[in-house]
Subunit: 206 residues, 2 copies
């Protein structure tokens, strides 16, 4: 890409734009504008134009953006115009819900390897993956060159699992464990903790 100096907050908005462009495309709409995107997203149109300008010129004065073209360009920029293999660690209630959720595969993130420490779960097949012993994690991740992992283990196990994943070559971790995990600078982490979202909003409740 060669555009590694784009602010992280801008990168964080690209999936939001992509999601809306996908919806517009599915609805059969051919063209859109920064004004329309802004109105749908609650983001200023100037902000959207500025964000996109980091990566090139995607619109035309007067006609705006071609929906499918801009969608494809943002997919390419985000490296999501290809399939990614994903490892899932933890196959409790939450891990099972994640493994059964169809929304990852439709966006080209395929849960190919699932790991748990419970011997009774090993061998179970789920969608595109099968549950393996946690002891096989380093080997399977490394052999299959898996770069993306989802963590659904208890808080107390999250850091240890993280360390093993990174050692095996994982560079991006989506963690559902309710704890902040420490990673080196070259590894990216994102968190899903619905309770924290509710807590933040409770501040504003009267």
């Amino acid at each position: 890409m060669g555009v590694r100096d784009v602010p992280d907050i801008v990168i964080g908005r690209l999936p939001i734009y992509l999601r809306t462009l996908n919806l517009l495309s599915e609805a059969g709409q051919e063209f859109t504008s920064s004004q329309e995107l802004g109105k749908r997203l609650g983001i200023g149109s100037a902000q959207i134009r500025k964000d996109l300008s980091h990566f090139g010129e995607f619109g035309k004065q007067g006609t705006g953006y071609e929906v499918s073209f801009l969608r494809d360009q943002i997919s390419r920029i985000l490296n999501v115009d290809r399939d990614w293999d994903v490892a899932l660690v933890g196959f409790g209630d939450l891990g099972q819900a994640i493994a059964n959720y169809g929304g990852f595969a439709t966006k080209r993130f395929h849960i190919r390897a699932i790991f748990d420490s419970d011997p009774q779960k090993i061998g179970e097949e789920v969608n595109e993956g099968v549950v393996e012993s946690i002891e096989k994690l380093p080997q399977i991740i490394s052999e299959n060159n898996i770069k993306v992992a989802i963590i659904a283990v208890p808080a107390g196990a999250a850091q240890e699992v993280t360390d093993v994943l990174i050692k095996a070559g994982v560079q991006a971790i989506l963690s559902y464990a309710p704890i902040t995990i420490i990673v080196p600078d070259n590894v990216h982490v994102q968190y899903i903790d619905p309770v924290m979202h509710l807590q933040k909003m409770a501040y504003y409740l009267t």
Copy 2:
């Protein structure tokens, strides 16, 4: 509270601090410092002190913060030192996983009312709630003065459900639907979309 001018991004960090203080407290630790919190969270200690200074003086020079005191103060600031009733809309695979997830109730968010349009699901009991017809939503939300809702419906239904929730008095919405919803200024929305987190991280993958 009277401190409504605190930046939203600061409010967003309070649940992160609270989570860490809860972990320290459970581990039996009595005192902490902005340095220790910063190291655990990957946030600068000066930033943490500045964030907390919006709300008062919570630490002492030399001894730092008393863990349980700071935890209680942040809980109070966030309005999470009390119980909240929560409505859940959508009882498909995702809604069922949310209803069965124990992590909300332990943090005092209680899913009391669950709504779905499928007659076969109505009457089903889950944890602290029971599935009701979506047609009863306005009445039940309003009568029980429910201010917080979780949306787990398909993208195509999310805006309509949102409008009904707000009309019934809901002020905070956590949406799992993969679409941006439009709300008035006095209503707060947070989104959970794991795919968008993966897409953002994919940008950095090599």
